[in-house]
Symmetry: C2
Subunit: 331 residues, 2 copies
Amino acid sequence: MQIESHRFLITGGASLIGLRTAESLLAAGAREVVLYDNLSFDAPDGALAALLETGRVRLVRGDVLDAQAVETACEGIHGVYALAGFMSAGIGKQPRLGLEVNVLGVLNVLDACVARRVGKLVLASSSAVYGYGAIGGAITEAEPLRTHAVPAPPALYGASKLLAEKLCQLYRTEHGLDYVALRYSTVYGERQHYRSTNALYIIDAYDRVARGESPVLYGDGSETKDFVYVGDVARANVLAMRAQVPGEAINIAGGKPLSVRYLAETVIRLAGARVEPEYREAPAAGFRIKTDAPFHYDIGKAERLIGWKPEVPIEEGIARLIAWRRDGTPR
Amino acid sequence: MQIESHRFLITGGASLIGLRTAESLLAAGAREVVLYDNLSFDAPDGALAALLETGRVRLVRGDVLDAQAVETACEGIHGVYALAGFMSAGIGKQPRLGLEVNVLGVLNVLDACVARRVGKLVLASSSAVYGYGAIGGAITEAEPLRTHAVPAPPALYGASKLLAEKLCQLYRTEHGLDYVALRYSTVYGERQHYRSTNALYIIDAYDRVARGESPVLYGDGSETKDFVYVGDVARANVLAMRAQVPGEAINIAGGKPLSVRYLAETVIRLAGARVEPEYREAPAAGFRIKTDAPFHYDIGKAERLIGWKPEVPIEEGIARLIAWRRDGTPR
């Protein structure tokens, strides 16, 4: 679907990824972007205000669980991004609301797309659909969901994202709705929040360093993560809307393993601090997302199908996050 | 948890598995069994009437989506069986209701168990949590969920059952609720319904034979399934309630691969008919549950942890199903 002169709606539009996607859509020539958001997670800030000032962005305050409101908001929309969702920790704390939003919320968006003849849906899925624990190496889109011996919250999150993808698949079969599912790895960048358990390795690490404390690592720090910068994710969202890839699920990730020790040391170095990471046995409360071996999400399919690969190196992304955190400007 | 002199509630209690489990609980000395069912799938029949006549079984007509009614029904109950649920085909047709029942319905049962201090929950999970497609060999409880290239309905079903298990895991962590998840393979037996896509290889085959038609097979008939007789499942339900196995997920299956050709030929032979299976390329409508290689669900854990293994051979089970279908008696 072309972006130019088209109108798009983003559920969870006021979020880290939502605002950045709106910017990218405007830059690509979109006529209008509707940010559909209940503002329960993201308070209005300078970045949102700057978007609204363009005159091409509208904020519709609404909940994805309000099926009628979602449908009304989709009137005249050409393409929808379904970004609204709970992450692992939130589902652990509010399982009913979290699963309603992640599953029934997507169902409401799908019904609205069918009812209002929206041309295409981009679903925000997650690399959590591969689970954790016994994963390692290059993880392609054909990998199964591993939740054996995984704490309930990330397993519930991964299963809820898999359900959302399969609902899209069902609606493509039953109603001919065009969609593509993007499986983001851990997204980080300016406007970083505390809801992503894995992104804490950056934002919590930096905030501790800024307070003169040490970043906290569990285990020996050799465990790895796969991070992707929010600006790269926004670009993937635009490319996925443009591309003809109906029904595909595509990894959007950094594509390389980063040890949590390296992340902590990079945060310390870029912050100009003189502390060392602190190693602990296990978190005092909550759960840990653990994996057994170095891994990364294979991003070959993204390059082949939508012409995307990440452009912002982790050091650059962390530097931008720190600059944003320090001066508090929209970006 | 002991069975003797205790009271049990079964959601979806009027079902194939529910009634048989109630019988087994009574035989094991249960004081009372409450069948909680909205009767949307299973109409009252002779088997239900026979149970009610014992005076130790009560039918409570209610919906698992009515949280208050579930909680009220759990008053004074020692152990709950969460059997109510939609299967693959039903979810494909009614995804919203199906997922609400399979996920939020279980959440309502969990909340009721916590609120009414129910001692233990046995969750009816499914071997669908391993998915389909690229499975083969002996499938243990550590296997992941494979839904790549699987039709949406069975993938949604499998993911919904995995979510239900993980909700139980969350409630065990957060509220200390004792539970065990039994992953049934395809259950068949007297009072067989048409909602189980895989069980159609028996009930649809027999009904066709009874009409003088041929059972229908897709492909060359070499594809395999793993069936377990409903009486064996009911016995597993009783053993799982008795055993001290908190938080475990356990396969309850026949434990051996049966080709669909063998199933059709067995139905024909036991029905005394003189037809041959008819081979077709693909179903005219709906979806197929396909697997790539012969497989069976490993039942070693069930024997080790709850002392269960199947006792009724497939020929005996099919003979009982045919006898029930022919004379229409409760069993």
